[in-house]
Amino acid sequence: MKKTKLFPVHEKLGAKIVEFAGFAMPVQYRSIIEEHLAVRNSVGVFDVSHMGEVIVKGEKALDFVQYITVNNAAKLTPGRVQYSAMCYPDGGIVDDLLVYKISDDEFMLVINASNIEKDFNWMNENNKFGVELRNESDEFSLLAVQGPKSQETIQKIIDKPLDIEYYHYFYANVAGVDMLVSCTGYTGELGYELYFKGDEKTAEHVWNTVFEAGKEFNIQPAGLGARDSLRLEMGYCLYGNDIDKTTNPLEAGLGWITKLKKGEFIGREALLKVKEEGLKRKLVPMVSDERAFPRHGYDLSKDGKVVGYITSGTVSPVLQKPIALGYVDVQFANEGETVNFVIRGKEIPAKIVTLPFVKKS
């Protein structure tokens, strides 16, 4: 199993370690619910160094990114980040990713840990533009500092005003280490992601300095468990759960990042056809008032018939209600409609709502 450079820190903290995407990762330190609420109410830190980073370099870097991703990367300027996806020719999703524009001839693509090898191969197979592709995933450490107190925390240890807006980034020195600081995250809270290189000692130093700075806010380490429940409260898709090669971005509610008019890209023809023919099913958010725990893979029913399946589910720590995402036949996929979670043979009524599940005050 691979380990991030912060693995010794997680062990020292007594984290519960699980295998995730080939990495030994902390799923929780003390309690998923407590870690979740620490991020919602104050500030928490995730080691997400398992994520992949691919550098795209060359005169035709933009052409390559435009061809391989569904969003319009031509809209990016250096310092900006874009959420996007890569599709197969049939419209199925290879991965979802973040696109960082570094300069006119350089981009950084941040991809899911479980897909690093597959994505990098896919990029190489489709590199008809002769760009340089470098998989730097093993070199980068990545800390996600998330929560309403994240800005105040990092401001104490950064060498300039931390004034970047959502989905922007800049280069700065944090805790004595030069890094890329990005106002992004997977929690729905104000938050920053710190990309830096260096050995275990560097990673531990950055971690410790962030925790020292966040002490007054009772900063907490947060594991993959809280990362999952936080993203689900916002309705963010997780690759392998809500999206994969059998789902297309239009039915997954990612039409907003799928720019069919931007010009040629892989999957465009198939997606145009999907749009023309109309969706057969849709990924919808559902909430129940019952005591139930919806989980990935459970069926969804209506009038005694299976009309879909759950892709992600939990009991929301903030709402204290069961919430889920799932694909539902399009005729029932309307806000306000009732469907059932099928949990061990029992039908639990749930209502289709709008995202996010947890509205910010």
């Binding site: 519960k16 799923v27 929780q28 309690s31 998923i32 619910i33 468990g225 429940s229 005591r291 725990f293 989980r295 939990t314 009991v315 061990r344």
Partner: protein, 126 residues
């Protein structure tokens, strides 16, 4: 981790405390720790009987759902009323406040099939 003497244990990580013909049943410290945050305990409020080795309900934690297997056969006397609103007491006190059901034991011989604290601990370390 704590596995009190005097309790009997199943390989599925339940414990039973026997007082006269009444058995109090819960899950072990190991089980609560593996499950993590317990969100609710699902035991049918109309449940009348439990059977040795068979499921009498489920326990839902953030990470996973797990069946509850009965360490004895008998008539259900009580389901812990506190679990309805505070299932997390199982995480905090699995052998005390976090007990799950009380049963009138109908076949005490079955209890001989269970493990004592030392044997349970030993099989966890295997």
């Amino acid at each position: 981790m704590n596995f009190p003497e005097g309790l009997k244990y199943t390989k599925d990580h339940e414990w039973i405390k026997v007082e006269g013909n009444v058995g109090t049943i819960g899950i072990t410290d190991f089980a609560q720790s593996e499950l993590g945050d317990i969100v609710f305990v699902d035991v049918d409020p109309d449940l009348e009987e439990v059977t040795f080795g068979e499921s009498f309900g489920t326990i839902e934690a953030v990470k996973t759902v797990s069946d509850l297997y009965s360490p004895c056969t008998g008539k259900v006397l009580e389901i812990n009323p506190k679990l309805e609103d505070e299932p997390q007491i199982i995480n905090g006190d699995p052998y005390g406040e976090g007990w799950i059901i009380k049963v009138e034991i109908s076949d005490p011989d079955e209890l001989n099939k269970l493990m004592d604290s030392a044997a349970y601990k030993a099989q966890l370390n295997q």
